[in-house]
């Protein structure tokens, strides 16, 4: 019996903003689910607050609500849409927790909504540690010995039996948030304290330490007929103790015999049955004692997880898609395997290749953060690579991270004396550990020594030894022969690595390789190890005998993706790449995607006509171009949609004769080169803040003295404001320059006059050589100086008049024309004293493209791709891809206001200052959309921060002197709305003089008073403060408010750090108190907006 016919409409909940532990893998899974459900003729109602997702594109659901994922808003959607069923297993922990909350609140029952894909009891059994342990015991398997604790007292009692080290895991948190390993009582009190706080049920589990054991994961699926399949096994190269999201992992498991593997499988199947995941997927983690094989079940996720996305990409078995089909009544054998198109989904994929996933960290963004890897996930992204052996897959994955330090190198002196230090260093799991192991082995440490220090399986270490031995042979060989090259390549060596070992250049090695005819072949991911023919061109490169790329005579466009997620380059860029693939396929091109990020929609084999899962380096991209160039016409390569990664390849690709479509590399360079760009600005008659380009401290000092402090300094060619800083004095300028040369020695440092108190404006526009389409004008809610990625912004701009927008349009047009843009351009302007300055222009897709598309209802990334392929704005207006008239700068009557808010990962990095600056730190974003700014802002806050804006309670205020004047009015309003105001002495003084009843609270450095009067930090820690307004002082490292902001993060209290943000918050609170909350789908918004003045 196939599909259930009693389900006509399904509500799908997304995972909200990208945060550490929950990234764009849930856009991938949610998008697949929406697609499947609509194919089945079901009405899809989607709720997700994250505008940068493909799933929230209007065509993926019948009703798309970009609304906060909270019980209140979800109930509004349910009441309005009355879905038959709710599918909560594809939006990560966020969606699952939201569904549990809806159930607990009786809302599902009230509106008669059936939960599909999981039921509350099964979720409970899977996620509640006590219940889960019981299940494991009942099926005859073992869990780690442990204690459930609900208080610190429990915790301290529990550890006496288990001993140290002990693992602390809070219940119901995602990405292992709040968990850690305690080596002593001090650790325990700290970690368990945070864990009890983080767990929604105030519950932590203390567990016997199995650190160093082998770690495995299985991805399973079960259908309503109790058919179960194991989709994928994953082995962690980093053993137990490091969160699987932070581990280097490999699929399939490589160091188990069949007996051991089948035991995992048997236990896994027993668990999925006993937990009662009726239809859908789950992920189960296991530990195995390497000395005797004792098997321990760690945990399960009764839903689609990050590992499911990885497993789907690793095997070609689309877990989310199949989970969605199972949820509506299909059984596994009724679903076809897309890739073979003739065999069913009720089988277990088998791999004839090796997949390696490597995490990407962002510790450089958070100075002071502890880089030790623990059971709390800290990585912000991941890269996956496929090869025909482990060394090849590993080396491809390492270079896919685009972090030079991650790539194995042999250039440092060979001093065996280093070994003891290296071994000592690698005992602590951290992001660079594998490189240390590689180096120590190269220096002569034994496999056994490294195994002892790291517990990494000797098999993996031997593979690294193979790589080292090959490196020596490459280095020592008299000449580069074809067999030597072939062998090196089949162990994953890049041309760059070989060149370094030979003291040659990359181009030279490439040339030798060409002459010797050593080229990669492309194999296919086919789920079945070639047992059946594959219909889906999902390819990876390898050095082997036979290539499987079927020549195609069609006109092709290659789209370069954006690689692993990192801060500053994430899902927003993947969004644009996916749009390009969709629209260019529609326009009749064969679209070819190259990317290495397994979390994304772009690496779904359904997205493009052909998918190459490859690192985004010159060599790897050229290999695809060469393979595809064998037949058909390569119209060109798109480099401007995937962020800095593909942009960085533009020039070298062009130099190799590859056609780049859209904005040309020379134009990209023009925009990046300060001196050349100044001329463009001069011709366009747009002023930039006074600035200069410095190649030394002396030059920088001279510039700063000339233009006046404060100055904004940054290296050229960066994304996400990496290394950008506002400098207020010469001494700091000197420090900065000393450090900056290490960031990027090839490029100079830019020194700009920093415009204090300016309004920052972000613009995305399309230009086709003649016409400009101003896609969106966003006004930042924080002042200039905070990275645009971290700043909340509003579209349409809330305080800009028509005349100002016209000026922006004219300037944008002039700059786009001057640079030579074909496609997208993003410009940041600053409006100060009625002068419109340009801060920066980037001739590429920006982070805000999806937000602008959602806020205005216009698919600008699609339009950009079509312009790059040669179409004009006029023709796109004619076919309706762009509005027939008007643009994002003059939105029609009835247009809603959208607010984008950034989501920051400070909660993950204890000891890191939470203040915002010109360097981007956010991992994700949410959008609030409504008729007025206040409501839209309030929604954005609810969506971004648990609890959102408070509507009553106590506000703590501590202001920098320069902010005091501007803050009086909003604080007065806050007081009138019923808030108690407490403030530090100086601030309180001024507030009182303005008729605001403000209580004085002690500053942190004053310490607790004689009568026990709390300091501001005490008050925050005691939970007495509901809202914090703390604007930091402008000079130096701005440490003053550090403790306040840290306490705010730890306690989850909203903390406002700018006056502009305060004003917005007060408007938001006002609207929360006075307006009825309402929801409206973006399809409804689009219906109510009449572009053509109709």
């Amino acid at each position: 019996m196939p599909k259930r016919d009693d389900i006509k409409s399904v509500m799908v909940i997304g995972s909200g903003p990208i945060v550490i532990g929950q990234a764009c893998e849930f856009d991938y899974s949610g998008t697949q689910a929406c697609r499947v459900l609509r194919e089945e003729g079901i009405r899809v109602i989607l709720v997700n607050s994250n505008p940068a997702t493909i799933m929230t594109d209007p065509e993926f659901a019948d009703a798309t609500y970009i609304e906060p994922i909270t019980t209140q808003y979800l109930e509004l959607v349910i009441a309005k849409e009355r879905p038959d069923a709710l599918l909560p297993t594809l939006g990560g922990q966020t969606a699952l927790n939201a569904a549990i909350a809806l159930d607990k609140a009786g809302i599902l029952k009230k509106y008669n909504v059936e939960l599909i894909g999981a039921d509350i009891d099964a979720i409970e059994r899977g996620e509640n540690r006590e219940k889960f342990r019981k299940i494991v015991q009942e099926i005859g398997a073992e869990s780690a010995r442990s204690h459930i604790c609900h208080s610190m007292q429990d915790t301290l009692a529990g550890v006496t039996e288990l001993g140290y080290p002990v693992v602390v895991r809070p219940s119901f948190t995602m990405g292992g948030a709040g968990s850690g390993i305690a080596y002593n009582e001090e650790d325990l009190v700290r970690i368990a304290g945070l864990g009890l706080e983080a767990s929604p049920t105030s519950e932590v589990l203390l567990e016997e330490s199995i650190i160093g054991w082998k770690e495995y994961e299985l991805e399973l699926m079960r259908d309503k007929n109790d058919n179960v399949v194991v989709v994928c096994s994953i082995e962690n190269v980093d053993p137990m103790g490091v969160h699987t999201g932070d581990s280097i992992t490999v699929a399939p498991a490589l160091t188990l015999t069949d007996r051991e593997f089948q035991k995992l499988r048997d236990v896994g199947i027993e668990i999925i049955r006993a937990v009662g995941v009726e239809t859908g997927g789950c992920n189960i983690q296991f530990a195995i004692n390497p000395d005797d094989g004792r098997l321990i079940v760690i945990e399960m996720n009764p839903r689609v997880s990050r590992s499911s996305a990885l497993a789907s990409k690793a095997t070609g078995f689309p877990i989310a898609k199949i989970a969605a089909r199972l949820a509506i009544g299909y059984s596994l054998d009724e679903i076809q395997n897309d890739i073979t198109a003739e065999t069913p989904a009720s089988f277990e994929p088998t791999l004839d290749y090796i997949v390696v996933k490597v995490p990407r960290f962002a510790f450089e963004k958070f100075p002071g953060a502890d880089t030790t890897l623990t059971t709390t996930m800290k990585s912000v992204g991941e890269a996956m690579a496929i090869g025909r052996n482990f060394p090849e897959a590993l080396q491809k994955a390492l270079r896919s991270t685009e972090q030079k330090s991650a790539i194995f190198g042999w250039d440092k002196p060979r001093d065996a004396g280093e070994i003891p230090h290296l071994i000592e260093d690698m005992k602590r799991p951290h992001d660079g550990r594998l490189s240390l192991a590689q180096r120590a082995l190269w220096l002569g440490a034994t496999n056994a020594q490294i195994h002892e220090a790291t517990n990494i399986d000797p098999w993996f270490l031997d593979q690294i030894e193979r790589i080292n031995e090959m490196a020596d042979r490459i280095h020592e060989s008299h000449e580069v022969t074809a067999p030597l090259l072939f062998e090196a390549k089949s162990l994953g060596f890049s041309d760059v690595q070989i060149a370094d070992l030979r003291g040659a250049g990359e181009a030279e090695i490439r040339e030798i390789r060409k002459q010797l005819g050593v080229f990669p072949v492309f194999k296919t991911v086919d789920t079945c190890a070639a047992e059946f023919a594959a219909r889906t061109p999902y390819h990876y490169s390898s050095y082997d005998s036979e290539t499987e790329v079927v020549p195609s005579e069609r006109r092709k466009i290659i789209i370069l993706g954006s690689g692993p997620n990192r801060i500053g380059q994430g899902i927003e860029f993947d969004y644009s790449c996916v749009h390009a693939a969709m629209t260019l396929s529609e326009a009749g091109y064969e679209t070819i995607m190259i990317n290495c990020n397994p979390e994304t929609v772009s690496t779904d084999y359904d997205t493009s006509d052909r998918l190459y899962f490859e690192p985004l380096t010159f060599e790897d991209v050229m290999a695809v171009i060469d393979a595809e160039g064998a037949a058909g016409e390569l119209v060109g390569v798109i480099v401007q949609l995937g962020g800095q990664t593909p942009l960085g390849l533009a020039q070298s690709l062009a130099d190799a004769g590859v056609p780049i479509i859209g904005t040309q590399p020379a134009a990209i360079h023009l925009a990046e080169d300060r001196e050349m760009f100044s001329q463009v600005l001069a011709e366009a008659k747009v002023p930039a803040p006074a600035h200069g380009t410095a190649r030394s401290f002396e030059q920088a000092r001279e510039i700063a003295n000339r233009i006046g402090y404060p100055v904004l300094v940054r290296p050229s060619y960066v994304l996400g404001g990496r290394g950008m800083e506002i400098v207020y004095e010469e001494e700091r300028l000197k420090e900065y320059l000393e450090a900056a040369t290490q960031i990027n020695p090839e490029h100079p440092v830019l020194v700009d006059r920093f415009l204090d108190d300016a309004v920052e404006i972000d613009v995305d526009a399309l230009f086709d050589g003649t016409d400009l389409y101003l896609a969106g004008v966003m006004e930042h809610i924080e002042e200039a100086g905070i990275h645009s990625g971290d700043s909340a912004c509003a579209l349409p701009p809330i305080t800009l008049g028509r005349e100002e927008i016209d000026r922006i349009r004219k300037s944008t047009h002039a700059i786009a024309a001057g640079v030579g843009v074909r496609g997208l351009i993003n410009i940041q302007f600053a409006l100060a004293s009625d002068v419109l300055y340009i801060l920066e222009a980037n001739p590429r897709a920006s982070r805000t493209v999806p937000f602008v598309s959602k806020a205005t209802g216009v698919p600008i990334a699609k339009a950009a791709a079509r312009i790059m392929a040669g179409e004009s704005i006029a023709s796109l207006r004619a076919i309706g891809l762009l509005p027939r008239s008007g643009d994002g700068g003059q939105l029609p009557q009835g247009s809603p206001v959208s607010v984008k808010e950034a989501v920051l990962p400070f909660g993950r990095f204890h000891g890191v200052d939470t203040v915002l600056g010109p360097e981007m730190k956010s991992t994700g974003e949410v959008m609030g959309i409504d008729a007025t700014f206040g409501v839209a802002f309030a929604k954005s806050q609810v969506a971004a921060f648990s609890g959102g804006l408070p509507t009553r309670g106590t506000a703590f205020v501590s202001l920098a002197n320069r902010d005091k004047r501007a803050a009086i009015f909003p604080i007065k309003r806050l007081s009138d709305l019923g808030f108690d105001i407490v403030a530090t002495a100086g601030t309180a003084d001024i507030l009182q003089r303005n008729g605001i009843p403000a209580r004085v609270i002690r500053k942190q450095f004053e310490g607790t008073g004689a009568e026990g009067e709390p300091t501001s930090v005490d008050a925050i820690n005691n939970g007495e403060i509901d809202l914090i307004i703390n604007t930091p002082y402008g000079v130096g490292p701005r440490k003053d408010g550090y403790e306040i902001r840290t306490a705010a993060v730890l306690r989850g209290v909203p903390c406002i750090t700018t006056v502009q943000g305060l004003a917005a918050a007060v408007q938001g609170i006002d609207s929360l108190l006075h307006d009825q909350a309402a929801v409206k789908s973006i399809q409804e918004h689009a219906r109510d907006v009449h572009w053509d003045g109709v």
């Binding site: 007929n225 109790d226 058919n227 399949v229 194991v230 096994s233 399939p252 498991a253 490589l254 160091t255 188990l256 015999t257 069949d258 007996r259 593997f261 089948q262 499988r265 048997d266 390497p290 000395d291 005797d292 094989g293 059984s331 596994l332 054998d333 003739e342 065999t343 069913p344 009720s346 089988f347 277990e348 994929p349 088998t350 791999l351 004839d352 290749y353 090796i354 025909r388 052996n389 482990f390 496999n447 399986d457 000797p458 098999w459 031997d462 193979r466 194999k523 079945c528 190890a529 070639a530 047992e531 059946f532 023919a533 082997d544 005998s545 036979e546 499987e548």
Partner: protein
């Protein structure tokens, strides 16, 4: 480091790949077949059904966990050759007692590594299973002669290996715990795990030589007869087919696996045929047509029972039906008699290597023997 022995593999149609030798050196001929299991190479190599074949592993890293004293499925390794992409240099497993290369050498099995096993698999998939030769110490300068030699080697169709693999001495595997039934297992190439699975269920298993007569079997007074897996063309297994017919006549409960399924099929009057490239792996979806449930199963068969025109059909022993099919290609995977207690499956419920989804079939056998007693 051992010196590299250049080796070449050659198919009867002239396809060849050069690699490196390991295990025994020399020349090996056999039917080239590919196995897609990602684990279980030791079980595969010790499975007598691979006698006369050269096994190509599609999983790229082989030998990682070495070999151990527990996982062998018979007294020796059987294939004549073994083809892998990469042989592990080290062994990593707490149960390991030796390396795969040494074990192959001891068993005289010629191995070749460093070849594009995926290309080879695709070739075999598209052209069908065919004869292969592995020649160590050769890079194929005399390729023409090598091809000719491969073409002179024996074919699988019509081949019988039963004499080679069957036990020379009958033996008994005692029931674990309370004895609940006795069965005679005709050893056509039985795997160690099969009597184990029965023994675990309280079945005493008498494993007997393939040439044992029906009279001799009867003397053991069994509650049921079991037909094992095994190599070769079922059409040649005339003796076993005769025994099955006699057992059926005597209404003796009967259970067959793999080769045993083909023999039951032939005993019932069905035809068997050689498949294009067979099923060899541990991920095959088989549907039990009675319950509608799907089992993930271990397969190793190059022959199959030709499906009759309808699922239910008449035989000399009453009504019979096709009980299981492979969902990938609808190949017959199980047969049962409706009027008596005889059934068989084409796949391996004993697993080893492979999933344990189908071990309920041993319970079913016990039940059927129980009703006989």
């Amino acid at each position: 480091m051992k010196s590299v022995i250049p080796s070449i593999l050659v198919l009867e149609d002239g396809y060849s790949l050069v690699g490196k030798g390991f295990g025994a050196s020399g020349t090996a001929f056999g039917e080239a077949v590919f196995s897609t299991g990602m684990t279980g190479y030791q079980e595969t190599l010790t499975d007598p059904s691979y006698c006369g074949q050269i096994v190509v592993m599609t999983a790229p890293h082989i030998g990682n966990t070495g070999v151990n004293g527990e996982d062998g499925e018979s007294r020796r390794m059987w294939p004549s050759g073994f083809v892998v992409r990469e042989l592990s240099r080290v062994v990593s497993n707490w149960r390991a007692s030796g390396t795969l290369a040494d074990e192959l050498d001891i068993n005289g099995i010629v191995g070749i590594e460093g070849v594009d096993t995926r290309a080879l698999t695709r070739h075999l998939r598209d052209r069908g299973a065919m004869r292969m030769g592995i020649f160590s110490h050769s890079t194929g300068q005399n390729l023409g002669e090598l091809i000719a030699a491969v073409n002179d080697s024996p074919m699988m169709l019509g081949a019988s290996f039963t004499e080679e693999v069957t036990t020379s001495k009958n033996y008994v595997i005692a029931a674990k715990g309370k004895k609940r039934a006795t069965c005679v297992a005709l050893d056509l190439g039985i795997k160690t795990m099969t009597p184990q699975r029965m023994s675990e269920r309280g079945i005493e298993v008498h494993v007997v030589n393939a040439n044992t007569t029906w009279e001799e079997i009867q003397k053991l007074n069994p509650d049921g007869v079991f037909l094992s897996n095994g190599p070769g063309d079922p059409a040649t297994a005339v003796g076993a087919i005769g025994i099955v017919q006699q057992a059926l006549k005597a209404k003796m409960p009967l259970f067959g696996i793999c080769f045993g399924n083909q023999i039951l099929g032939r005993a019932l009057g069905l035809q068997t045929y050689k498949m294009q490239y067979g099923h060899r792996g541990i991920n095959q979806p088989v549907k039990d047509l009675t319950t509608g449930k799907v089992e993930i199963t271990a397969h190793n068969h190059g022959f199959a029972v030709r499906a009759p025109e309808s699922l239910e059909f008449d035989t000399a022993f009453g009504r019979a039906r096709i009980s299981h099919i492979c969902l990938n290609d609808n190949v017959v995977e199980g047969i049962e008699l409706l009027d008596q207690n005889a059934f068989s499956v084409q796949y391996h419920p004993e697993a080893a290597a492979g999933p344990h989804d189908s071990d309920y079939l041993f319970d079913r056998f016990l039940e059927k023997m129980g009703s006989h007693a």
